[in-house]
Amino acid sequence: MDKVYSYTKSRLLYNRALKVIPTGVYGHLGPSNGCAIPVDYFPIFSHKAKGAYFWDADGNKFVDYMCAYGPNILGYGDEDVDKAAIAQLKKGNCVTIVDECLVDFAELLTDTTGKDWAFFCKNGGDVTSLAVMTARAATGRKKIVMVKNGYHGVAPWTQKLGYAGVIEEDVSNNLCVHWNDVGEFENLIAKYPGEIAAFISTPYYHPTFEDNVLPAENYWKRIRELCTRHGIVLVIDDIRCGFRLDIKGSDVHYGVKADLITFCKAIANGYNVSALCGAESLKGAVSDVFYTGSYWLSAEPFAAGIACITKMKKENTVAKLRFIADKLHSGLKDVAKANNREIIITGEPVMWYMRHSNDENFFMHQAWVAECVRRGVFFTNHHNHFINAAVSDEDIAFTLDVADKAYKAIRDRF
């Protein structure tokens, strides 16, 4: 039987939310920025989550391929991580002086990633901004080179002129290059000699609404050489990819060593902590930057991070994720083909982006995703997806069945 969900309670909650919260639910988890198209096919409020699933306020169960946009890597409510976090919470969390587990976490993280130090904050944007400040402090230079359509958070410097609240001065030292174009970076170095503090980029190109693109052969090697030769700090923004491609960090995955690397999302399986890790040569510069926050040194997320990284290492989560992702993608392609469609999957398999061929404006893809969602498989139509280690063979079989039903549901429209 082809049953579809309804979202009565989510809607009622959303109407309450609109009165007291800007846009009801702001940011990427909200229906607007989250591209809920059409909006009434998507749940808005979660009730509970466990393993590969969440249940919404109406009790509908979803196999979740967004993983809270990345943090869920071991499965929601992983017992080992939660146990460590709860034990730490009972012992002490937000205290006047910091808990000893700070040192344990920093040692584990530097040992895992091969970096020399770790500086902890809360969100990805905290550490991308710290990376830029550190690069400027170290070099005495202003300009930052970034990749066009790259995402490094929501601080004013990461946004674009014309976005609400962003002024020209916020972005006047940003320079952009196209992904995989080393020549453009060389040109900027020639145009602004001695002025570029940092090159910041995600390990591969994963914008929204576009096919994702892996680095070209020798791309990172050549970027590394240029940065070294011209005294430019190489920052790899590993917020989204970190621990999914390589437990040591995505710079290692692509055969290069970053001067600074940022982590968040999967670092603690959903507990709120981020980290900037770096080379010894930048330890003095980052130490000089005045940077702190009320909850940045809370101990509970550190304990969760220790448990999460320890478990990912022990269970070789990276390999497991890849195995699950490959199986899912193979099945999705087969189901699409059986329905006379072609699904295009790009990017790293564990963080795949998907669309359909012959659908350049996404109308059909948006309809298909929506039909999947209201049958219990949570995809998005605009963003890369994420795999977590709790996805089972049964979940994949369910997903493929839903994907098939969704194709049939849109057959008459597209």
Binding site: V25, K160, G162, E360
Partner: protein
């Protein structure tokens, strides 16, 4: 606020509404019913436009339509700066430099003033009359339709002229957007190589769509009574297609109130 952009909006988003005004407003129809005259507005640094009146109809002309000789024999009104033209639209006394069919200057002084007064009646009703007027369903429909036509034509002028607007427009992929009201009016917005154009009516194969449930929602959004993100979340309008087009368009739409407010 950029004076050139504001003048372009006044020309190509506000005054252009005279075309539709002559179709729907009895007083306007009466004024133009026997007239055969073209009035060309030229403002320094801005793209000119003309309004051609013939047999009770008004046609708005710009670009190729204007260059093709349609404005031949027109009464031409030249403004030596965008600021001066903007002052005129804001109600201050400004004298343009007339040329061409200057024997018809009386039309600009008399009949055209009636048309702009009627346009103001719909677009900018007097505060003391506004609430009462909006209770009338027909007035509400015309007011909202003109507001929408003005806003979406204005956003294209912002995208083509305003320094920040141009940056936004150049980030937009090529494509066509339909902004529609269910069982109501529609505008089509095209973008190519960072240049925007607008037409009344929708495109057959748009790249993206924004569909409002009814005119009241359009009125609420354009008057700032609800923001677009809340309205979308609440399901008051639906979007689909190439979302980066709509995302950037809404950023331009956010600048419209600054220019028209």
């Amino acid at each position: 606020m950029d004076a050139k952009t504001k003048a372009s909006i006044n020309l190509h988003a506000v005054l252009r509404n005279v075309q539709e005004l002559c179709d729907i407003d009895d007083a306007a129809k009466d004024v133009v019913k026997d007239k055969k005259i073209t009035v060309k507005f030229s403002v320094k640094d801005c793209e000119p436009m003309a309004l051609a009146f013939d047999s009770g109809k008004c046609t708005y002309l710009r670009g190729d339509a204007l260059d093709g000789g349609a404005a031949k024999g027109a009464l031409k009104l030249y403004f030596s700066s965008p600021e001066k033209f903007n002052k005129l639209v804001d109600g201050e006394k400004v004298t343009p430099i007339p040329s061409g069919a200057i024997t018809k200057i009386g039309f600009a002084l008399k009949e055209f003033s009636v048309l702009t007064d009627r346009l103001s009646h719909y677009l900018r009703p007097k505060p003391e009359e506004k609430d009462e007027l909006l209770k009338d369903a027909r007035y509400f429909e015309v007011n909202t339709t003109f507001l929408a036509y003005t806003a979406f034509h204005a956003l294209a002028e912002i995208g083509n002229n305003d320094p920040v607007g141009r940056e936004i427009a150049h980030r937009m992929p090529d494509g066509k957007i339909n902004v529609e009201v269910k069982d109501g009016p529609a505008v089509g917005i095209a973008i190519k190589d960072g240049r925007m154009s607008v037409k009344i009516g929708s495109y057959e194969n748009p790249s993206a769509r924004m569909v409002f449930g009814n005119l009241q929602i359009v009125n609420d959004v354009l008057n700032g009574r609800t923001d677009v993100y809340s309205a979308m979340g609440a399901g008051l309008f639906a979007i689909s297609g190439l979302i980066p087009l709509l995302d950037n368009m809404s950023k331009l739409l956010g600048s419209v109130a600054r220019y028209l407010g």
